[in-house]
């Protein structure tokens, strides 16, 4: 991971200890994961023990301590999607990709996550791939939807 970029993010937040979570979020959103190298740098420069950073990085759902695939699949498991059959969509995607929520495949092609509400309940069940929404999905539609991602 590019440490100078991590430094820039830390500088942007004036090295403030209180900004720890905001710094981690920015690194996560740019690099899609938090490497040990990055965490050590943040620990050193914000003067926060690495153990506390680990606590935070594993507590919040937004952070990943392992690299993510090229395409991030988020399947909405919010209540509205749940009652409209999101579980079956999830099962179909698990079968297609061979991974479970929280996992990344060996080719680093897909990462699969469940989320608790994307807030477009009118379209449920919903799958979000790299920020693109696929709505009103039936389990049988998932194969077609995932085809275009290489």
């Amino acid at each position: 991971m590019d440490i100078t970029r991590v430094d820039q993010i830390i500088d942007k937040h004036n090295c403030e200890t209180n900004s720890l979570i905001q710094v981690l979020l920015e690194v996560q959103s740019e690099k899609h994961w938090l490497s040990r190298q990055a965490l050590e740098r943040i620990s050193e420069r914000l003067d926060v023990p690495l153990s506390r950073i680990q606590h935070i990085a594993s507590f919040y759902k937004a952070f990943s301590l392992v690299p993510k695939g090229r395409h991030e699949i988020h399947i909405c498991m919010g209540t509205a999607c749940h009652v409209r059959g999101a579980q079956n969509v999830l099962s179909a995607v698990e079968d297609l990709t061979g991974i479970k929520p929280g996992e990344t495949d060996l080719d680093l092609k897909f990462s699969l996550e469940t989320v608790n509400c994307l807030g477009c309940c009118a379209l449920g069940p919903v799958m979000d791939v790299n920020g693109q929404i696929h709505g009103n999905l039936a389990p049988a539609d998932t194969e077609e939807a995932l085809k275009k991602y290489e």
Partner: protein, 642 residues
Amino acid sequence: MPRINSPDELEKIRNEILSQKDTNKPCISICAGTGCLACGAAEVIAAFKEEIEKQGLEADVDTKGTGCPGFCERGPIVVIYPEEICYLQVKPEDVPEIIAQTIKENKVLERLIYLDPSTNESATRESEIPFYNNQERLIISNNIKIDSKSIEDYLAIGGYSALKKVLFQMTPEQVLEEVKKTNLRGRGGGGFPAALKWEGSRNAPEPEKYVIVNADEGDPGAFMDRALLEGNPHLILEGLMIGAYTIGAREGYIYVRQEYPLAVENVKIAIKQAEEYGFLGNNILGSEFDFNVKVHQGAGAFVCGESTALMTALEGRAGEPRPKYIRSNIRGLWEKPTVLNNVETWANVPLILNNGADWFNSYGTDRSKGTKIFSLVGKINNTGLVEIPMGMTLREIIYKVGGGIPGNKMFKAVQTGGPSGGCLPDSMLDLKVSFDELTEAGSMMGSGGMIVMDEETCMVDVARYFLDFLSDESCGKCVPCREGVKQMLKILTNITQGRGQAGDIELLEELGEVIKGISLCALGQTAPNPFLSTLKYFREEYEAHIKDKKCPALYCKELISYYIDPEKCQACMACLKKCPSDAVTGGKKTIHIIDQDKCTKCNTCLDVCPPRFNAVRKISGEPVPPPIPEEERTIARGSKEK
């Protein structure tokens, strides 16, 4: 933009903005909220801009990307002013025609306006659509009128006039009295009177105080706070400023979920604009009031919606709740007096100050005043955000505003209050929606999720679903929540998978009582509610799962089987081709049979079986009929032989 240094300057600028606006000039407002963007609103906006440029109409027509007006079911939504013509489900291909007909010729495109599915009556204007005109849209109605990224638009509709009034005509005590008179109750879940919270902080001796907007909206299926923050961020800021003035805070925070990128973006833009105009910073509008706001993004933890956990997260630590021996309005963020209110609560504040407590009190019931925004979702025809006066019945909300249940299915329950709330059956449909009534019925107002369930929803599974959610989101700090919720989930999972035993219900009740009684924060204290309320109203479903191994709603996978009715099957090959696990055998003229050992119960066969055959059905609690003998499987086309 130079800073505004006095109330007169504010009015001067407002008049300048208004004088530049030609109210007769057509303005195309396109909802750019997350829901409509997901249905392609960005492409529609781009198409309008392109077409207007192509036709050289830039000077004659305005376009606006606005906040969410609520009718997500029919997005993308376009409203054309001044006539207020409302077009639904607009696609980029429709744009040239809208420009040619509606903008240039003043003609309404019949195919894009609302058509009531039950009465077949059409409605041209937003205000004529039953979804809207059965609501009382005090807060959310402005969303479609303003560009969510423009402070000028907010000023044009009278924005920051409540702040001006408060700073120059009222003492903090008077503001507090006015809000107290309305008994404005917290819209985030607890329903605690906002003014009492404010008063506690105001009277606390510490000079340093904070105000916080809680926009960590985590209830699955609820998105009203996001719509307000995305659509009208200045309204929330104005409310927050008034709160800060009242309690004497100089610093405020907006804690918003990182999952809401558009809300984060719009609120950051709003803060920057407010700083430039002098609504934030030192000597606001030339008064002696100083106030600044920072945005803090949440990193994805449901428990952070809890006030003390949120404050811990703001301090840069893992968001775990703290015991509340001393309330956070006395000792909150960095141990200082802190007022934390939900987005919608803050949104009500400028309205109250502008129009007075008596006006606000004219809406609602005795003990719950004003309106509440609900996100009406699930098995409902009109999915979307609805703002209703407190005291409206569930039946009116679901049938008059929501348009009833799709597909002629039977209503079964409505879930309110998110994971802390409960499910109410059809016998409770005439319940008046307000804080106390919902709590008495075994549910709660919560932040405003309202999930409608039909006959195909299994109530045991709904309870399992929420316990699964809560078990995952429990921060793990206190034992009853961390371990107890997990055990409840384990038993509920067993029941839904056909491994329920006699005594499970009693054990769950006992566990629920302990978790309710001794958990540290509201997450644990309310975690058993989804189970307790479904048990109260749907006990027979629990018993069917446990005793008969039957799921009456035909939902729980382990308790159902798929079966092709040989009388109805026309050997069309649809299910055979689509079955992902090759469980369907048969051929072009051979009646299809599902191999129960191979079937993964993915529902694909039922989805693809043509409705005119309707041959696939789900069965539960009874054995699957044996396959018909091989020699009877052949059918001759035209006349079906057995």
